[in-house]
């Protein structure tokens, strides 16, 4: 089977900044590098945190001068208030930094972003140094693979799972939707294969063909 796309294949270069960098310079860095995510490093270059566009925007959404705490304040509100008044990257940044190794599969980065509800991950090399950043759009690129390439991967997967049995299965991919059918009578539970097929890169949905009379061509 084709080896999976790795984080290092889809990541972009990191935009690094120091803990002492001032707010306005952080805004410029975001704009000049067309990014939403800055990796904050200490004086040795070790990653210590991240500053995002969202952090900077708190300056506009919250009053930050002399604002009294509103009774019992939640930790989240307190953090927001502190960030809204922040001048330096150190005061603004989120810790700890959420990271993934460059050698991990890109699909794992997508999963981690969904699970932790974040838009970006800092990518580290084997030594723990900043190697890049991945965001949701980098991962979206995985979904754009041509149907023909996806189909070959699905066929390889089935051959791997079923050995000889795979020959009895027909695979069709239309606009990212994988459709399985029995090409000749055989005792293969197609439904059971769908979860694995859905894991193939670029597959948006997978199902079993409604009937053997369904036409053997993509529509449109």
């Amino acid at each position: 089977m084709r080896s999976p796309t790795l984080v290092r294949d889809v990541m972009r270069p990191p935009v690094l900044t120091q803990e002492g960098t001032w707010f306005r310079e952080l805004v410029r860095l975001l704009r000049d590098h067309d990014t939403e995510f800055l990796t904050v490093v200490d004086h040795q270059g070790r990653p210590v945190g991240a500053v995002t566009e969202e952090d900077l925007l708190l300056k506009l959404t919250r009053r930050w001068l002399d604002e009294p705490a509103e009774g019992l304040e939640s930790a989240g509100r307190r953090t927001e208030r502190r960030k809204a008044a922040a001048v330096t990257a150190r005061e603004l940044m989120s810790e700890p930094l959420l990271t993934i190794a460059a050698s991990r599969p890109a699909a794992e980065a997508a999963r981690l972003m969904r699970e932790r509800d974040v838009r970006h991950l800092a990518v580290l090399d084997a030594g723990g140094w900043p190697a890049g950043v991945v965001d949701r759009s980098d991962v979206l690129a995985l979904l754009l693979r041509p149907d023909e390439v996806i189909r070959e991967d699905v066929e390889d997967l089935l051959a791997h799972l079923l050995r000889g049995g795979a020959a009895s299965i027909g695979v069709q991919v239309c606009d990212g939707v994988a459709i399985l059918r029995l090409a000749r009578p055989a005792d293969v539970p197609l439904e059971d294969l769908l979860p694995d097929v859905r894991e193939v890169e670029g597959v948006l949905a997978a199902r079993v063909a409604d009937s053997t009379v369904e036409r053997w061509r993509c529509p449109g």
Partner: protein, 230 residues
């Protein structure tokens, strides 16, 4: 001066029709290097916004939808395949989060936060899309020059709004961080100068070293949730 949404928005804007397919949307986003696009009807009114986040959610939904589709047999196959991948109308977040072009940027920032979105469709009185404004666009207010900020605080806040003699006040601005020095007549004047300076567009923080001759008492804490707080 209040920077408005119209000052910082992207216009004209890329839009898609409700029946645009999943891959078409992804390709348009990538070709234009944008992360979301308004979905508009034939008259240009905003129906919703479809973003990268909506498209990624689709990955999670695919499994459930694939199963449902397997059970229903009547729609044409073509319709079904298309629906399995999703159209703009099915994928979009609706109704669209919108704002008028004359709203201040702080209001746009609060609207984004309330709706949990990264951008707003900018609409005219008839609801037609005239632009799109992203979080990055709003941050442009912080690129205002130090001189402009200084002049606004000295001329418009101290003299224009508070009607004070500018003589005793020294206003310094460095990278959007304002330092106030000098001796005000009254304590409330000193507090007000700092508080209003903090609301000037582009100000990152205010460090007040103002002193005063007469302590005329404490000012009530600033009211929260007023239209133009900052």
């Amino acid at each position: 001066m209040r920077t408005t949404v119209g000052d910082v928005m992207t216009s004209p804007v890329e839009t898609v029709e409700p029946d645009a397919g999943f891959k078409e949307i992804v390709e348009r986003l990538r070709a234009r290097r944008i992360s979301a696009v308004p979905v508009v009807d034939a008259t240009g009114r905003a129906l919703g916004i479809v973003s990268e986040a909506d498209l990624l959610l689709k990955e999670d939904r695919a499994e459930v939808e694939g199963r449902q589709r397997f059970l229903e047999g009547r729609r044409s196959r073509r319709e079904r395949v298309r629906a399995a991948a999703g159209t703009a109308a099915e994928l979009m977040t609706s109704p669209a989060a919108t704002i008028g072009a004359d709203a201040p940027v702080a209001e746009a920032a609060r609207a984004m936060r309330r709706r949990g979105v990264k951008r707003l469709a900018v609409v005219d009185e008839a609801g037609r899309v005239v632009g799109i404004v992203s979080r990055g666009d709003l941050l442009a207010v912080f690129t205002r020059s130090d001189d402009e900020i200084r002049d606004e605080i000295a001329d418009e806040v101290i003299v224009g709004t508070l009607l004070l003699d500018p003589g005793p006040f020294e206003v310094q601005v460095r990278e959007g961080v304002v330092t106030l020095r000098g001796e005000a007549d009254r304590r409330t004047d000193a507090v007000l100068v700092a508080r209003l300076a903090a609301r000037v567009d582009g100000v990152v923080n205010v460090r007040s070293e103002l002193i005063y001759r007469v302590d005329d008492g404490e000012l009530a804490p600033a009211r929260r949730r007023v239209g133009s707080d900052g």
